[in-house]
Protein backbone atom coordinates (compact mmCIF):
# COMPACT_ATOMS: atom_id res chain seq x y z
CA UNK A 1 0.00 0.00 0.00
CA UNK A 2 2.66 2.38 1.07
CA UNK A 3 4.80 1.32 -1.80
CA UNK A 4 1.92 1.93 -4.20
CA UNK A 5 1.52 5.44 -2.92
CA UNK A 6 5.16 6.19 -3.34
CA UNK A 7 5.01 4.84 -6.88
CA UNK A 8 2.04 6.93 -7.89
CA UNK A 9 3.69 9.94 -6.29
CA UNK A 10 6.78 9.35 -8.36
CA UNK A 11 4.65 8.93 -11.47
CA UNK A 12 2.77 12.13 -10.77
CA UNK A 13 6.00 14.03 -10.31
CA UNK A 14 7.28 12.68 -13.60
CA UNK A 15 4.03 13.57 -15.37
CA UNK A 16 4.15 17.06 -13.93
CA UNK A 17 7.67 17.42 -15.14
CA UNK A 18 6.69 16.47 -18.67
CA UNK A 19 3.66 18.71 -18.51
CA UNK A 20 5.76 21.68 -17.44
CA UNK A 21 8.19 20.84 -20.24
CA UNK A 22 5.30 20.88 -22.67
CA UNK A 23 4.23 24.29 -21.41
CA UNK A 24 7.76 25.52 -22.03
CA UNK A 25 7.65 24.03 -25.51
CA UNK A 26 4.44 25.95 -26.29
CA UNK A 27 6.01 29.20 -25.07
CA UNK A 28 8.99 28.56 -27.31
CA UNK A 29 6.77 28.17 -30.34
CA UNK A 30 4.83 31.39 -29.74
CA UNK A 31 7.16 34.06 -31.20
CA UNK A 32 7.60 32.20 -34.48
CA UNK A 33 3.91 31.36 -34.72
CA UNK A 34 3.01 35.04 -34.25
CA UNK A 35 5.30 36.05 -37.10
CA UNK A 36 3.87 33.25 -39.26
CA UNK A 37 0.32 34.40 -38.54
CA UNK A 38 1.12 38.01 -39.43
CA UNK A 39 3.34 37.63 -42.46
CA UNK A 40 2.35 34.25 -43.92
CA UNK A 41 -1.24 33.57 -42.94
CA UNK A 42 -2.77 37.06 -42.99
CA UNK A 43 -1.71 37.48 -46.65
CA UNK A 44 -3.60 34.26 -47.39
CA UNK A 45 -6.81 36.10 -46.51
CA UNK A 46 -5.67 38.75 -48.95
CA UNK A 47 -6.27 36.10 -51.61
CA UNK A 48 -9.92 37.14 -51.38
CA UNK A 49 -8.82 40.14 -53.45
CA UNK A 50 -8.49 37.82 -56.43
CA UNK A 51 -12.27 37.42 -56.33
CA UNK A 52 -12.99 41.12 -55.80
CA UNK A 53 -12.61 44.44 -57.48
CA UNK A 54 -10.23 45.49 -54.78
CA UNK A 55 -10.05 49.21 -54.00
CA UNK A 56 -7.34 50.01 -51.42
CA UNK A 57 -9.39 52.77 -49.77
CA UNK A 58 -12.34 50.40 -49.23
CA UNK A 59 -10.22 47.47 -48.04
CA UNK A 60 -10.98 43.78 -48.31
CA UNK A 61 -14.26 44.05 -46.42
CA UNK A 62 -15.61 46.96 -48.44
CA UNK A 63 -14.65 45.91 -51.96
CA UNK A 64 -17.22 44.30 -54.25
CA UNK A 65 -16.99 40.61 -55.07
CA UNK A 66 -16.81 39.73 -58.75
CA UNK A 67 -16.40 35.96 -58.54
CA UNK A 68 -14.09 34.44 -61.10
CA UNK A 69 -14.06 37.53 -63.31
CA UNK A 70 -10.29 38.08 -63.02
CA UNK A 71 -9.52 34.46 -63.79
CA UNK A 72 -11.76 34.59 -66.86
CA UNK A 73 -9.98 37.78 -67.93
CA UNK A 74 -6.60 36.18 -67.24
CA UNK A 75 -7.26 33.21 -69.50
CA UNK A 76 -8.66 35.45 -72.23
CA UNK A 77 -5.40 37.42 -72.43
CA UNK A 78 -2.95 36.23 -75.07
CA UNK A 79 -0.23 37.64 -72.73
CA UNK A 80 -0.72 35.10 -70.04
CA UNK A 81 -0.25 32.05 -72.27
CA UNK A 82 2.97 33.59 -73.53
CA UNK A 83 4.15 34.41 -70.01
CA UNK A 84 3.34 30.88 -68.92
CA UNK A 85 5.24 29.40 -71.84
CA UNK A 86 8.24 31.66 -71.17
CA UNK A 87 8.30 30.68 -67.50
CA UNK A 88 8.23 26.96 -68.21
CA UNK A 89 10.75 27.07 -71.08
CA UNK A 90 13.22 29.12 -69.02
CA UNK A 91 12.75 27.06 -65.86
CA UNK A 92 13.01 23.69 -67.64
CA UNK A 93 16.05 24.87 -69.57
CA UNK A 94 17.75 25.84 -66.34
CA UNK A 95 16.90 22.55 -64.64
CA UNK A 96 17.95 20.32 -67.54
CA UNK A 97 21.12 22.04 -68.68
CA UNK A 98 22.06 23.01 -65.13
CA UNK A 99 21.90 19.41 -63.90
CA UNK A 100 23.67 18.05 -66.99
CA UNK A 101 26.62 20.40 -66.66
CA UNK A 102 26.81 19.87 -62.90
CA UNK A 103 26.86 16.07 -63.38
CA UNK A 104 29.52 16.21 -66.10
CA UNK A 105 31.59 18.69 -64.11
CA UNK A 106 31.48 16.60 -60.94
CA UNK A 107 32.63 13.51 -62.84
CA UNK A 108 35.50 15.44 -64.44
CA UNK A 109 36.47 17.17 -61.19
CA UNK A 110 36.64 13.82 -59.44
CA UNK A 111 39.38 12.79 -61.90
CA UNK A 112 41.63 15.71 -60.95
CA UNK A 113 44.48 14.37 -58.86
CA UNK A 114 46.28 17.66 -58.23
CA UNK A 115 44.87 18.69 -54.83
CA UNK A 116 45.79 22.34 -55.31
CA UNK A 117 44.13 22.60 -58.72
CA UNK A 118 40.99 20.83 -57.53
CA UNK A 119 40.63 23.10 -54.49
CA UNK A 120 41.24 26.26 -56.53
CA UNK A 121 38.72 25.33 -59.22
CA UNK A 122 36.12 24.47 -56.57
CA UNK A 123 36.69 27.80 -54.81
CA UNK A 124 36.17 29.65 -58.09
CA UNK A 125 33.14 27.81 -59.47
CA UNK A 126 31.22 27.97 -56.17
CA UNK A 127 31.66 31.74 -55.97
CA UNK A 128 28.97 32.93 -58.44
CA UNK A 129 26.32 30.99 -56.47
CA UNK A 130 26.79 33.36 -53.53
CA UNK A 131 26.63 36.57 -55.55
CA UNK A 132 23.43 38.54 -56.06
CA UNK A 133 21.86 38.81 -59.52
CA UNK A 134 22.20 42.56 -59.09
CA UNK A 135 25.97 42.09 -59.18
CA UNK A 136 25.94 39.36 -61.81
CA UNK A 137 23.58 41.28 -64.11
CA UNK A 138 26.29 43.90 -64.44
CA UNK A 139 28.77 41.14 -65.25
CA UNK A 140 26.42 39.66 -67.85
CA UNK A 141 25.61 43.01 -69.47
CA UNK A 142 29.30 43.78 -69.51
CA UNK A 143 30.01 40.52 -71.36
CA UNK A 144 27.01 40.40 -73.70
CA UNK A 145 26.27 44.01 -74.73
CA UNK A 146 26.79 45.07 -78.33
CA UNK A 147 30.41 46.08 -77.70
CA UNK A 148 31.06 43.49 -75.01
CA UNK A 149 33.63 40.76 -74.86
CA UNK A 150 31.46 38.08 -76.45
CA UNK A 151 30.68 40.28 -79.46
CA UNK A 152 34.36 41.23 -79.73
CA UNK A 153 35.19 37.54 -79.94
CA UNK A 154 32.42 36.98 -82.53
CA UNK A 155 33.68 39.80 -84.76
CA UNK A 156 37.25 38.56 -84.37
CA UNK A 157 36.20 35.25 -85.91
CA UNK A 158 34.28 37.06 -88.64
CA UNK A 159 30.74 36.67 -87.30
CA UNK A 160 28.06 39.33 -87.09
CA UNK A 161 27.53 41.13 -83.80
CA UNK A 162 24.55 39.79 -81.86
CA UNK A 163 22.23 41.79 -79.65
CA UNK A 164 21.88 39.16 -76.92
CA UNK A 165 20.04 41.42 -74.47
CA UNK A 166 17.68 42.94 -77.01
CA UNK A 167 16.70 40.01 -79.21
CA UNK A 168 13.63 37.89 -78.57
CA UNK A 169 15.28 34.80 -80.01
CA UNK A 170 18.49 35.12 -78.01
CA UNK A 171 17.12 36.28 -74.67
CA UNK A 172 15.89 32.91 -73.37
CA UNK A 173 19.15 31.11 -74.24
CA UNK A 174 21.01 33.97 -72.54
CA UNK A 175 18.93 33.66 -69.35
CA UNK A 176 19.31 29.89 -69.27
CA UNK A 177 23.04 29.81 -69.97
CA UNK A 178 23.95 32.55 -67.52
CA UNK A 179 21.98 30.80 -64.79
CA UNK A 180 23.69 27.52 -65.63
CA UNK A 181 26.99 29.42 -65.40
CA UNK A 182 26.06 30.80 -61.95
CA UNK A 183 24.88 27.55 -60.43
CA UNK A 184 26.62 24.56 -62.04
CA UNK A 185 29.59 24.68 -59.67
CA UNK A 186 27.51 24.74 -56.55
CA UNK A 187 25.07 22.15 -57.89
CA UNK A 188 28.00 19.81 -58.47
CA UNK A 189 28.61 19.61 -54.70
CA UNK A 190 25.88 17.05 -54.12
CA UNK A 191 26.87 14.98 -57.16
CA UNK A 192 30.52 15.01 -56.09
CA UNK A 193 29.49 13.73 -52.66
CA UNK A 194 27.57 10.92 -54.38
CA UNK A 195 30.61 9.98 -56.49
CA UNK A 196 32.98 9.83 -53.50
CA UNK A 197 30.51 7.50 -51.77
CA UNK A 198 30.95 4.89 -54.53
CA UNK A 199 33.07 1.92 -53.46
CA UNK A 200 36.56 2.41 -55.01
CA UNK A 201 36.91 -1.38 -55.15
CA UNK A 202 34.45 -1.44 -58.06
CA UNK A 203 36.70 0.85 -60.09
CA UNK A 204 39.81 -1.17 -59.24
CA UNK A 205 38.18 -4.42 -60.26
CA UNK A 206 36.96 -2.92 -63.51
CA UNK A 207 40.41 -1.49 -64.27
CA UNK A 208 42.01 -4.88 -63.75
CA UNK A 209 39.48 -6.34 -66.16
CA UNK A 210 40.66 -3.75 -68.65
CA UNK A 211 37.68 -1.40 -68.63
CA UNK A 212 38.47 2.03 -70.05
CA UNK A 213 37.81 5.24 -68.13
CA UNK A 214 34.76 5.91 -70.27
CA UNK A 215 33.39 2.42 -69.61
CA UNK A 216 33.95 2.79 -65.88
CA UNK A 217 32.09 6.14 -65.85
CA UNK A 218 29.22 4.66 -67.80
CA UNK A 219 28.90 1.39 -65.86
CA UNK A 220 30.03 2.37 -62.34
CA UNK A 221 30.02 6.13 -61.69
CA UNK A 222 26.74 7.06 -63.39
CA UNK A 223 24.72 4.14 -61.96
CA UNK A 224 26.16 5.02 -58.54
CA UNK A 225 24.96 8.60 -58.95
CA UNK A 226 21.55 7.60 -60.26
CA UNK A 227 19.61 7.71 -56.95
CA UNK A 228 20.74 11.24 -56.19
CA UNK A 229 20.17 12.36 -59.80
CA UNK A 230 16.65 10.96 -59.60
CA UNK A 231 16.00 12.58 -56.23
CA UNK A 232 17.19 16.00 -57.34
CA UNK A 233 15.23 15.75 -60.59
CA UNK A 234 12.05 15.01 -58.66
CA UNK A 235 12.69 17.76 -56.15
CA UNK A 236 13.28 20.29 -58.92
CA UNK A 237 9.75 19.68 -60.21
CA UNK A 238 8.16 22.53 -58.19
CA UNK A 239 10.57 25.07 -59.65
CA UNK A 240 9.20 24.73 -63.21
CA UNK A 241 7.05 27.75 -62.43
CA UNK A 242 10.03 29.65 -61.12
CA UNK A 243 11.83 31.41 -63.92
CA UNK A 244 14.01 33.33 -61.46
CA UNK A 245 12.64 36.81 -60.77
CA UNK A 246 15.91 38.42 -59.70
CA UNK A 247 17.77 37.35 -62.82
CA UNK A 248 15.10 38.21 -65.36
CA UNK A 249 14.19 41.50 -63.69
CA UNK A 250 17.80 42.66 -63.76
CA UNK A 251 18.39 41.68 -67.37
CA UNK A 252 15.18 42.23 -69.29
CA UNK A 253 13.79 45.32 -71.00
CA UNK A 254 10.57 46.14 -72.91
CA UNK A 255 12.30 44.91 -76.09
CA UNK A 256 12.34 41.33 -74.82
CA UNK A 257 9.06 41.18 -72.86
CA UNK A 258 7.75 38.85 -75.53
CA UNK A 259 10.10 36.00 -74.62
CA UNK A 260 11.54 37.22 -71.34
CA UNK A 261 8.49 37.98 -69.25
CA UNK A 262 7.85 35.31 -66.60
CA UNK A 263 4.98 34.92 -64.12
CA UNK A 264 6.77 36.69 -61.27
CA UNK A 265 7.89 39.68 -63.33
CA UNK A 266 4.41 39.89 -64.87
CA UNK A 267 2.68 39.96 -61.47
CA UNK A 268 5.13 42.58 -60.25
CA UNK A 269 4.77 44.83 -63.27
CA UNK A 270 1.03 44.57 -63.88
CA UNK A 271 -0.14 43.96 -60.31
CA UNK A 272 2.11 46.05 -58.11
CA UNK A 273 3.51 48.77 -60.38
CA UNK A 274 0.33 48.95 -62.50
CA UNK A 275 -1.72 48.79 -59.27
CA UNK A 276 -4.05 46.11 -60.65
CA UNK A 277 -4.05 44.51 -57.21
CA UNK A 278 -6.91 42.10 -57.79
CA UNK A 279 -5.70 40.87 -61.16
CA UNK A 280 -2.12 40.51 -59.91
CA UNK A 281 -3.33 38.53 -56.91
CA UNK A 282 -5.37 36.26 -59.19
CA UNK A 283 -2.31 35.46 -61.32
CA UNK A 284 -0.22 34.99 -58.17
CA UNK A 285 -2.84 32.67 -56.67
CA UNK A 286 -2.92 30.59 -59.83
CA UNK A 287 0.86 30.19 -59.57
CA UNK A 288 0.74 29.37 -55.82
CA UNK A 289 -1.89 26.67 -56.26
CA UNK A 290 -0.07 24.93 -59.10
CA UNK A 291 3.19 25.33 -57.18
CA UNK A 292 1.69 23.65 -54.12
CA UNK A 293 0.36 20.75 -56.18
CA UNK A 294 3.81 20.31 -57.73
CA UNK A 295 5.60 20.34 -54.35
CA UNK A 296 3.18 17.78 -52.90
CA UNK A 297 3.53 15.48 -55.90
CA UNK A 298 7.32 15.87 -55.84
CA UNK A 299 7.35 14.93 -52.17
CA UNK A 300 5.18 11.87 -52.83
CA UNK A 301 7.27 10.80 -55.79
CA UNK A 302 10.47 11.20 -53.78
CA UNK A 303 9.00 9.07 -50.98
CA UNK A 304 7.85 6.44 -53.44
CA UNK A 305 10.95 6.16 -55.62
CA UNK A 306 13.86 7.14 -53.40
CA UNK A 307 12.77 6.58 -49.77
CA UNK A 308 13.56 10.19 -49.01
CA UNK A 309 11.30 13.17 -48.60
CA UNK A 310 11.31 16.89 -48.08
CA UNK A 311 9.02 16.95 -45.06
Amino acid sequence: MKLDNADSFELKKKNNKWRSSEATYHWMMIPGVIFLLIFNFTPMFGILMAFQDFVPSKGIFGSAFVGLEHFRYMFSLPDIAQVFRNTIVIALGKIIFGSLLAIVFSILLNEIRLKFLKKSVQTIVYLPHFLSWVVLATVVVNMFNLDGTVNQILTFFGFEKMNFLGSNTLFQPLIISTDVWKEFGFNSVVYLAAITAIDPGLHEAASIDGASWWKRVWHITLPGMLPIILLLAILSLPSVLDGGFDQVYNLYSPMVYETGDILDTYVYRIGLIGREYSFGTAVGLFKSVIGMILILSANNMAKKYTDRKLF
Binding site: F41, V121, L131, T149
Partner: protein, 296 residues
Amino acid sequence: MVKSKRFSERAGRFIIYATVIFLGLVCLLPLWNIVAISFSSNEAVVANAVGLKPVNFTTKAYEMIMDDAQFWRSFSISVQRVILSLIINLVIIILMAYPLSKTKRHFKARSIYMNLLIFAMLFNGGLIPTYLVVKNLDLINTIWALVLPGAVQVFSIILIMNFFIGVPKSLEEAAIIDGASPIQVLLKVYIPISLPALATVALFSIVANWNDFFQGLIYMTKVSNYPLMTYIQSLTIDIAEMINSGNSNDLQNISEVSNRNLNAAKIVISTIPLLLIYPFLQKYFVTGIVVGSVKE
Protein backbone atom coordinates in the same frame (compact mmCIF):
# COMPACT_ATOMS: atom_id res chain seq x y z
CA MET B 1 48.64 -1.92 -78.56
CA VAL B 2 49.66 -1.19 -74.96
CA LYS B 3 51.49 1.90 -76.10
CA SER B 4 48.50 3.28 -77.99
CA LYS B 5 46.26 2.68 -75.02
CA ARG B 6 48.59 4.59 -72.76
CA PHE B 7 48.62 7.41 -75.27
CA SER B 8 44.85 7.60 -75.50
CA GLU B 9 44.60 7.52 -71.72
CA ARG B 10 47.03 10.42 -71.45
CA ALA B 11 45.17 12.36 -74.12
CA GLY B 12 41.93 11.72 -72.25
CA ARG B 13 43.50 12.93 -69.01
CA PHE B 14 44.68 16.07 -70.77
CA ILE B 15 41.17 16.77 -72.09
CA ILE B 16 39.71 16.32 -68.60
CA TYR B 17 42.20 18.73 -67.04
CA ALA B 18 41.74 21.24 -69.87
CA THR B 19 37.94 21.16 -69.57
CA VAL B 20 37.99 21.62 -65.80
CA ILE B 21 40.46 24.51 -66.03
CA PHE B 22 38.41 26.04 -68.87
CA LEU B 23 35.22 25.93 -66.76
CA GLY B 24 37.11 27.49 -63.86
CA LEU B 25 38.30 30.32 -66.08
CA VAL B 26 34.81 30.85 -67.52
CA CYS B 27 33.63 31.48 -63.97
CA LEU B 28 36.57 33.62 -62.92
CA LEU B 29 37.38 35.87 -65.87
CA PRO B 30 34.04 37.72 -66.25
CA LEU B 31 34.21 38.60 -62.54
CA TRP B 32 37.86 39.61 -62.81
CA ASN B 33 37.01 41.82 -65.77
CA ILE B 34 34.73 43.89 -63.50
CA VAL B 35 37.58 44.35 -61.02
CA ALA B 36 39.88 45.48 -63.86
CA ILE B 37 37.22 47.90 -65.12
CA SER B 38 36.84 49.41 -61.66
CA PHE B 39 40.55 50.34 -61.69
CA SER B 40 40.57 51.68 -65.25
CA SER B 41 40.01 55.19 -66.61
CA ASN B 42 36.64 56.23 -68.05
CA GLU B 43 38.02 56.52 -71.57
CA ALA B 44 39.44 53.03 -71.60
CA VAL B 45 36.16 51.55 -70.32
CA VAL B 46 34.08 53.43 -72.90
CA ALA B 47 36.43 52.25 -75.66
CA ASN B 48 35.98 48.65 -74.40
CA ALA B 49 39.75 48.39 -74.11
CA VAL B 50 39.77 46.79 -70.66
CA GLY B 51 40.41 43.08 -70.54
CA LEU B 52 42.02 41.40 -67.57
CA LYS B 53 44.45 44.19 -66.75
CA PRO B 54 43.35 47.71 -65.76
CA VAL B 55 44.05 50.24 -68.52
CA ASN B 56 45.39 53.62 -67.31
CA PHE B 57 45.32 52.39 -63.73
CA THR B 58 43.40 54.73 -61.46
CA THR B 59 41.64 54.52 -58.10
CA LYS B 60 39.46 57.51 -58.92
CA ALA B 61 36.25 55.46 -58.92
CA TYR B 62 36.98 54.28 -55.38
CA GLU B 63 37.86 57.82 -54.27
CA MET B 64 34.51 59.01 -55.63
CA ILE B 65 32.68 56.30 -53.71
CA MET B 66 34.39 57.41 -50.50
CA ASP B 67 32.52 60.73 -50.84
CA ASP B 68 29.24 59.10 -51.91
CA ALA B 69 27.05 59.54 -48.81
CA GLN B 70 24.15 57.51 -50.25
CA PHE B 71 26.39 54.53 -50.99
CA TRP B 72 27.54 54.32 -47.38
CA ARG B 73 24.03 55.01 -46.04
CA SER B 74 22.78 52.04 -48.08
CA PHE B 75 25.79 50.01 -47.01
CA SER B 76 25.00 50.62 -43.36
CA ILE B 77 21.29 49.83 -43.89
CA SER B 78 22.33 46.49 -45.39
CA VAL B 79 24.67 45.78 -42.46
CA GLN B 80 21.94 46.61 -39.94
CA ARG B 81 19.48 44.47 -41.84
CA VAL B 82 21.85 41.49 -41.93
CA ILE B 83 22.57 41.74 -38.19
CA LEU B 84 18.92 42.17 -37.14
CA SER B 85 17.74 39.37 -39.44
CA LEU B 86 20.51 37.09 -38.25
CA ILE B 87 19.59 37.53 -34.58
CA ILE B 88 15.84 37.19 -35.13
CA ASN B 89 16.20 34.25 -37.53
CA LEU B 90 18.54 32.31 -35.24
CA VAL B 91 16.44 32.89 -32.10
CA ILE B 92 13.28 31.71 -33.87
CA ILE B 93 15.02 28.77 -35.55
CA ILE B 94 16.37 27.51 -32.22
CA LEU B 95 13.14 28.18 -30.30
CA MET B 96 11.00 26.33 -32.85
CA ALA B 97 13.38 23.55 -33.86
CA TYR B 98 13.88 22.32 -30.29
CA PRO B 99 10.24 21.55 -29.32
CA LEU B 100 9.62 20.17 -32.82
CA SER B 101 12.51 17.73 -32.41
CA LYS B 102 10.61 16.07 -29.51
CA THR B 103 8.52 12.98 -30.11
CA LYS B 104 4.76 13.18 -30.07
CA ARG B 105 4.75 11.52 -26.64
CA HIS B 106 6.77 14.34 -25.13
CA PHE B 107 5.12 17.17 -27.07
CA LYS B 108 1.53 16.37 -27.92
CA ALA B 109 0.84 19.45 -30.05
CA ARG B 110 3.91 18.85 -32.21
CA SER B 111 2.02 17.79 -35.33
CA ILE B 112 -0.23 20.88 -35.20
CA TYR B 113 2.77 23.20 -35.21
CA MET B 114 4.54 21.09 -37.82
CA ASN B 115 1.55 21.27 -40.18
CA LEU B 116 1.39 25.02 -39.66
CA LEU B 117 5.04 25.36 -40.70
CA ILE B 118 4.72 23.04 -43.68
CA PHE B 119 1.62 24.82 -44.89
CA ALA B 120 3.44 28.16 -44.65
CA MET B 121 6.26 26.65 -46.72
CA LEU B 122 3.93 25.15 -49.34
CA PHE B 123 1.55 27.97 -49.88
CA ASN B 124 1.81 31.73 -49.74
CA GLY B 125 -0.52 34.62 -50.31
CA GLY B 126 1.68 35.91 -53.06
CA LEU B 127 3.41 39.20 -53.68
CA ILE B 128 0.53 41.66 -53.54
CA PRO B 129 -1.29 40.47 -50.38
CA THR B 130 2.06 40.28 -48.55
CA TYR B 131 2.92 43.78 -49.71
CA LEU B 132 -0.42 45.10 -48.46
CA VAL B 133 0.06 43.50 -45.03
CA VAL B 134 3.46 45.16 -44.66
CA LYS B 135 1.97 48.42 -45.85
CA ASN B 136 -1.00 48.25 -43.47
CA LEU B 137 1.37 47.63 -40.56
CA ASP B 138 3.06 50.95 -41.42
CA LEU B 139 6.38 49.21 -41.96
CA ILE B 140 7.03 50.88 -45.33
CA ASN B 141 10.31 52.82 -45.26
CA THR B 142 11.41 51.21 -42.00
CA ILE B 143 14.15 48.61 -41.65
CA TRP B 144 11.59 46.22 -40.12
CA ALA B 145 9.97 45.79 -43.53
CA LEU B 146 13.24 44.16 -44.60
CA VAL B 147 13.59 42.02 -41.48
CA LEU B 148 10.23 40.87 -40.11
CA PRO B 149 8.53 39.31 -43.18
CA GLY B 150 11.43 36.83 -43.35
CA ALA B 151 11.65 36.24 -39.59
CA VAL B 152 10.55 32.58 -39.78
CA GLN B 153 12.82 30.59 -42.09
CA VAL B 154 10.91 27.32 -42.36
CA PHE B 155 13.56 25.46 -44.34
CA SER B 156 16.26 26.32 -41.78
CA ILE B 157 13.97 25.34 -38.91
CA ILE B 158 13.39 21.91 -40.46
CA LEU B 159 17.13 21.50 -41.10
CA ILE B 160 18.00 22.26 -37.45
CA MET B 161 15.08 20.17 -36.22
CA ASN B 162 16.46 17.17 -38.10
CA PHE B 163 19.87 17.87 -36.59
CA PHE B 164 18.38 18.05 -33.07
CA ILE B 165 16.56 14.75 -33.65
CA GLY B 166 19.93 13.17 -34.32
CA VAL B 167 21.43 14.32 -30.98
CA PRO B 168 21.88 11.26 -28.70
CA LYS B 169 19.03 11.05 -26.19
CA SER B 170 21.39 9.87 -23.42
CA LEU B 171 22.91 13.36 -23.26
CA GLU B 172 19.52 14.92 -22.64
CA GLU B 173 18.47 12.28 -20.10
CA ALA B 174 21.68 12.79 -18.14
CA ALA B 175 21.02 16.53 -18.02
CA ILE B 176 17.39 16.02 -16.92
CA ILE B 177 18.46 13.67 -14.13
CA ASP B 178 20.81 16.41 -12.98
CA GLY B 179 17.69 18.59 -12.70
CA ALA B 180 18.07 20.69 -15.86
CA SER B 181 15.00 22.47 -17.23
CA PRO B 182 14.12 22.26 -20.95
CA ILE B 183 15.73 25.66 -21.53
CA GLN B 184 18.90 24.55 -19.75
CA VAL B 185 18.97 21.33 -21.78
CA LEU B 186 18.70 23.41 -24.94
CA LEU B 187 21.43 25.83 -23.90
CA LYS B 188 23.85 23.32 -22.35
CA VAL B 189 23.37 20.25 -24.58
CA TYR B 190 21.72 21.00 -27.92
CA ILE B 191 23.20 24.34 -28.93
CA PRO B 192 26.86 23.50 -28.21
CA ILE B 193 26.60 20.23 -30.14
CA SER B 194 24.85 21.87 -33.13
CA LEU B 195 27.19 24.79 -33.74
CA PRO B 196 28.24 23.67 -37.27
CA ALA B 197 24.60 23.24 -38.34
CA LEU B 198 23.70 26.59 -36.77
CA ALA B 199 26.60 28.17 -38.65
CA THR B 200 25.09 26.84 -41.87
CA VAL B 201 21.67 28.41 -41.29
CA ALA B 202 23.31 31.61 -40.01
CA LEU B 203 25.17 31.87 -43.31
CA PHE B 204 21.96 31.17 -45.28
CA SER B 205 20.45 34.17 -43.51
CA ILE B 206 23.45 36.45 -44.00
CA VAL B 207 23.81 35.74 -47.72
CA ALA B 208 20.09 35.99 -48.48
CA ASN B 209 19.72 39.29 -46.64
CA TRP B 210 22.86 40.86 -48.05
CA ASN B 211 21.97 39.88 -51.62
CA ASP B 212 18.28 40.73 -51.62
CA PHE B 213 17.28 43.80 -53.58
CA PHE B 214 13.59 43.11 -54.16
CA GLN B 215 12.23 43.82 -50.69
CA GLY B 216 14.15 47.08 -50.67
CA LEU B 217 12.62 47.89 -54.03
CA ILE B 218 8.99 47.29 -53.04
CA TYR B 219 9.05 48.34 -49.37
CA MET B 220 11.21 51.46 -49.62
CA THR B 221 9.78 54.44 -51.43
CA LYS B 222 12.75 56.74 -50.80
CA VAL B 223 16.18 56.11 -52.25
CA SER B 224 17.70 57.21 -48.93
CA ASN B 225 16.18 54.08 -47.34
CA TYR B 226 17.46 51.64 -49.97
CA PRO B 227 19.65 48.76 -48.83
CA LEU B 228 22.87 48.40 -50.80
CA MET B 229 21.75 45.93 -53.49
CA THR B 230 18.59 47.92 -54.23
CA TYR B 231 20.67 51.08 -54.50
CA ILE B 232 23.15 49.47 -56.89
CA GLN B 233 20.31 47.95 -58.88
CA SER B 234 18.68 51.36 -59.30
CA LEU B 235 21.95 52.68 -60.76
CA THR B 236 22.71 49.91 -63.19
CA ILE B 237 19.32 49.10 -64.66
CA ASP B 238 19.19 52.27 -66.75
CA ILE B 239 22.52 51.48 -68.28
CA ALA B 240 21.44 47.96 -69.10
CA GLU B 241 18.41 49.34 -70.88
CA MET B 242 20.45 51.92 -72.72
CA ILE B 243 22.91 49.33 -73.95
CA ASN B 244 19.99 47.12 -74.91
CA SER B 245 18.54 49.76 -77.13
CA GLY B 246 21.82 49.64 -79.03
CA ASN B 247 22.74 53.31 -79.04
CA SER B 248 25.75 53.11 -76.79
CA ASN B 249 27.61 55.37 -79.19
CA ASP B 250 25.23 58.27 -78.82
CA LEU B 251 27.14 61.26 -77.57
CA GLN B 252 24.51 62.17 -75.03
CA ASN B 253 24.89 58.80 -73.43
CA ILE B 254 28.65 58.84 -73.12
CA SER B 255 28.50 60.52 -69.74
CA GLU B 256 26.28 57.72 -68.50
CA VAL B 257 28.43 55.01 -70.00
CA SER B 258 31.45 56.47 -68.29
CA ASN B 259 29.80 55.64 -65.01
CA ARG B 260 30.59 52.03 -65.78
CA ASN B 261 33.87 52.04 -63.91
CA LEU B 262 32.18 53.74 -60.97
CA ASN B 263 29.43 51.11 -60.95
CA ALA B 264 32.03 48.38 -61.25
CA ALA B 265 33.80 49.76 -58.18
CA LYS B 266 30.51 49.86 -56.26
CA ILE B 267 29.89 46.24 -57.16
CA VAL B 268 33.38 45.24 -56.07
CA ILE B 269 32.93 46.93 -52.68
CA SER B 270 29.47 45.39 -52.23
CA THR B 271 31.00 41.94 -52.75
CA ILE B 272 33.83 42.34 -50.25
CA PRO B 273 31.73 41.38 -47.18
CA LEU B 274 30.77 38.12 -48.90
CA LEU B 275 34.39 37.43 -49.84
CA LEU B 276 35.40 37.96 -46.20
CA ILE B 277 33.06 35.18 -45.05
CA TYR B 278 33.63 33.06 -48.17
CA PRO B 279 35.90 30.50 -46.45
CA PHE B 280 33.11 29.82 -43.95
CA LEU B 281 30.54 29.75 -46.72
CA GLN B 282 32.49 27.07 -48.53
CA LYS B 283 32.96 25.02 -45.39
CA TYR B 284 29.45 25.14 -43.93
CA PHE B 285 27.25 25.56 -46.99
CA VAL B 286 28.77 22.50 -48.56
CA THR B 287 28.31 20.30 -45.49
CA GLY B 288 24.88 21.79 -44.84
CA ILE B 289 23.73 21.08 -48.36
CA VAL B 290 25.05 17.54 -48.41
CA VAL B 291 24.02 16.46 -44.92
CA GLY B 292 20.92 18.33 -43.98
CA SER B 293 18.85 19.24 -46.96
CA VAL B 294 16.85 16.07 -47.34
CA LYS B 295 15.87 13.59 -44.70
CA GLU B 296 15.87 9.85 -45.11
